[in-house]
């Protein structure tokens, strides 16, 4: 408030000082550089009685004091504000804060504030733990967490095992979730397409193929996809331009893709069959021993 009053006083003095420029040149200057005020006023206001001159001198002195006081207070106030800003978080009215919230992205606000940045870090770490745990539990331990979506071979193998266990829906859910995290990964799109083809689900096959077309219209695998598409959904416009080879429809299909990465090596299958028969014999022995009331040792 004070510095506003002193500024008003200055404005009032301006016309007076301006008109006195010539008069100042004619008056004596003191050794200290000052101006003798009374002779100056007598020259400026020759018609004025002595009482008016005295009053004008008093007003001028008071104005000068006000100006000096105002300038001093203003400087002190600014200095105090600067100190306050450097030590205390700035407080603004709620409406202004809201405006700032709208204008400034929240991540930048968080980034600027160490406490909020730490809290945001905790929240994000907690969310990551839940996401990872969800993936681990939902997909029966096949994946460790979200990071495994960056390993297409691992994810596609887990999906293939679901498919082989007659859990095609869970396989599709896994691949769909993988695509949410890695939408550019062609291997996931192709594995989804092959599983839908093997399940004979033409509607889903077309839907996934259309989505893949939007993502990768120039993918090298489109010939294969159309070959499958013509067989499973011949009426779909997406595959309309692809000529169906009659040979594709009969007998074994040598160019059938293997996007779900089935193994061509049958060693594991042979061992699995041997193990199954071995165990079957053991179970039979156990049952016979039970029938004779003999205690079977742990096999």
């Amino acid at each position: 408030m004070l510095h506003r009053i002193s500024a008003t006083s200055l404005l009032l003095l301006v016309p007076l000082l301006t008109s006195a420029q010539d008069a100042i040149r004619t008056v004596n200057v003191t050794p200290g550089g000052g101006v003798e005020l009374v002779p100056l006023l007598v020259r400026l206001l020759p018609w004025a009685p002595p009482g008016v001159i005295a009053a004008a001198v008093a007003i001028a002195n008071a104005s000068l004091l006000l100006v000096l006081a105002g300038l001093g207070t203003s400087a002190a106030w600014r200095a105090f504000q600067g100190w306050q800003r450097s030590n205390v978080p700035e407080r603004r009215p709620a409406a202004i804060r809201k405006g700032i919230r709208r204008a400034v992205p929240q991540d930048k606000v968080r980034a600027a504030d160490p406490i909020r940045r730490a809290q945001a870090g905790d929240d994000e770490a907690r969310r990551k733990r839940i996401r990872d745990r969800f993936v681990y539990v939902r997909f029966d331990g096949a994946l460790k967490g979200i990071a495994d979506f960056g390993l297409p071979a691992k994810v596609i193998k887990a999906a293939r095992l679901y498919f082989e266990d007659s859990r095609g829906d869970r396989a599709d859910e896994l691949l769909a979730l993988a695509l949410k995290h890695q939408p550019e990964e062609h291997a996931y799109w192709l594995a989804r397409l092959e599983i839908r083809f093997l399940l004979g689900d033409s509607a889903s096959f077309v839907e996934i193929a259309e989505a893949f077309m939007r993502v990768a219209p120039d993918a090298a695998e489109w010939d294969e996809i159309k070959r499958l598409g013509v067989r499973i959904a011949p009426d779909s416009p997406l595959f309309a331009g692809h000529a169906s080879n009659a040979a594709d429809s009969y007998g074994p299909w040598p160019t059938m893709p293997n996007w779900i990465q089935s193994s061509w090596d049958l060693t594991a299958e042979v061992i699995a069959s041997e193990f199954h028969h071995h165990m079957r014999d053991r179970i039979q022995e156990m049952r016979e021993r039970f029938a004779h009331n003999a205690a079977p040792a742990t096999l």
Binding site: I130, F134, A142, L143, K144, L151, S273, H276, M286, F290
Partner: protein
């Protein structure tokens, strides 16, 4: 307020409510009821939360506490029903809403506490709803604590919440899953609207409010017009739960249920998905069950007990097994448990278990049942648990996991584990002879840390790894196998199953 002071205060207020109702001082009773209704959450929430987050089996004190919670909600329900009868029109809808809300709470805690009280009657619930409809107040809101904050919920969604809770709590859900389900339903109030129009063939359930039953699939032609609950909107809400989990949040984002284990949330997803997508279809057929007339059978609880006892000749009743070595006589001696076989078919057994034995059993537990003394036990999973209204035994519905399991001892191939003890598992043959569908029943801990396992036999050594979980229960996994040739390394990520990303998640979420 200390715990004891809180209980004393609660007793005082309930006494005042009972006294005011006894002398038909409706104004005073209404005032006490409303204050108690407002503060009840503060009185019971800590006890409820302590019970539901307890990971160990409940002891007698826990059951007593759960019974007190159930009794409290039952008393509030009765008080609200009396106030509905005696109060003026201006307050009646408030009390109807309160009564329906307490009906649902009482029904939920009746199941959780294994209450000996008669079950909540649907006729009470239907009468309250019909009275609200008659007063054109089905949309009347009740201010209540829902998922940790105050919210206004209309009478119709409260009615539907009670019906859905009761339908889905037919013994298939554990205490925590019931609480999670309730929290989800309270977050889905906008999706729970009844309609006189049948949305079939879209999935739906129906209720006939003049009946003594809850939600069902089919109309009883002898009763009045049904009201339909379309399940499509609820399915859409369920999809949001998936979105929450994929973002790393537990739905609904706040409230006590978000402190429960993530496994409880995830297992509920499948149950609700089946309910919301198939309920409108024809009911699943089940093979006829043969009545077994309560013949006694030996029962083994848990994988370890099954392996130790289920494949040895049965001990005489009351006789303990001899300890396997002198250093652990206490831990290995087991008590013979005998349940009664109620009925059975190819896919499952119905068992009647003494209440104290059944207290620690929940859906998802593994049990062995020896129905024939001259044969090894059947391996079963508990899928349903129902407490009869009278004081008789608890009914356990079980699904047969395998009739031909075989105990095996496997070794870890890992050189560091050479001196480690053998791993005891159950071999579960698949339905075809190729061996592709064979599995091993192992504990969670073994599944996570198995690595490459070997089975040495006289003529051959089999190397194998556990490459996926085909089915999971409480603490056990039915794991698929991958066989390895000599010298072959397991495919990346399949030899040793990953450690769960955060087994301590529950604790950290409680912080």
């Amino acid at each position: 307020m200390s715990e004891e002071l809180g209980r004393e205060e609660l007793r005082t207020r309930l006494g005042a409510l009972r006294a005011a109702l006894a002398r038909r001082d409706i104004a005073a009773a209404g005032a006490v009821f409303e204050a108690l209704d407002h503060d009840l959450h503060d009185f019971v929430s800590d006890d409820q939360q302590a019970l539901l987050t307890k990971m160990l089996a409940w002891d007698d004190d826990d059951f007593a506490l759960a019974s007190r919670v159930h009794a409290l909600h039952s008393r509030m329900l009765e008080a609200a029903r009396m106030l509905v009868s005696y109060s003026g029109l201006d307050k009646r809808l408030d009390y109807i809403a309160a009564a329906i809300a307490y009906w649902a709470e009482a029904a939920k805690w009746e199941l959780i506490s294994m209450s000996h009280e008669p079950p909540q009657r649907f006729t009470q619930l239907h009468e309250l709803y019909l009275e609200a409809v008659a007063l054109e107040g089905a949309a009347h809101g009740r201010r209540m604590m829902a998922n940790g904050s105050w919210a206004k919920v209309a009478i119709e969604p409260l009615y539907v919440r009670a019906l859905v809770l009761r339908r889905l709590s037919g013994g298939h859900l554990g205490p925590r899953q019931l609480e999670i389900l309730d929290s989800w339903l309270l977050a889905w109030v906008d999706a729970m609207a009844l309609s006189p129009d049948d949305p079939a063939p879209a999935p739906r359930l129906l209720v006939q409010p003049d009946s003594s039953a809850g939600l069902s699939l089919n109309v009883d032609p002898d009763l009045g017009d049904p009201l339909f609950l379309p399940l499509g909107p609820l399915k859409a809400e369920l999809d949001l739960v998936f979105d929450f989990l994929q973002r790393g949040e537990l739905f609904p984002g706040r409230g006590p249920s978000t402190t429960f284990r993530l496994e409880d949330h995830v297992s509920l997803l499948d149950i609700l998905h089946r309910e919301f997508t198939q309920a409108g279809a024809a009911p699943m057929t089940r093979d006829a069950r043969t009545n077994a007339e309560g013949v006694e059978v030996d029962v083994y609880l848990g994988l370890g007990d099954i392996i130790r006892g289920g494949f040895s000749p049965p001990a005489a009743p009351g006789q303990s097994e001899a300890p396997t070595n002198l250093f652990e006589p206490v831990t290995t001696a087991r008590r013979q448990r005998r349940f009664r076989l109620r009925d059975h078919n190819d896919s499952g057994l119905g068992l009647l278990a003494p209440r104290d034995e059944a207290a620690a059993l929940h859906p998802g537990d593994l049990i062995g049942v020896r129905t024939d003394p001259s044969a090894p036990c059947l391996v079963c999973e508990v899928v349903r648990k129902v407490h009869p209204a009278d004081d008789s035994d608890t009914l356990l519905g079980t699904r047969v996991v395998s009739r031909n399991a075989l105990p095996l001892s496997l070794k870890r191939e890992d050189a560091a584990a050479a001196s480690a003890p053998d791993i005891d598992v159950l071999y579960v043959p698949g339905t075809d002879s190729s061996g592709r569908a064979d599995s091993l029943l192992v504990s969670d801990a073994v599944f996570q840390s198995a690595g490459v396992l070997t089975k040495h036999d006289a003529a051959q050594t089999f190397r194998l790894s556990l490459n996926r979980g085909r089915h999971r229960g409480r603490g056990w996994v039915l794991a698929g196998l991958e066989f390895l040739a000599e010298g072959q390394e397991p495919a990346k990520g399949s030899g040793k199953n990953p450690k769960p990303p955060d087994e301590g998640l529950t604790l950290s979420l409680l912080d």
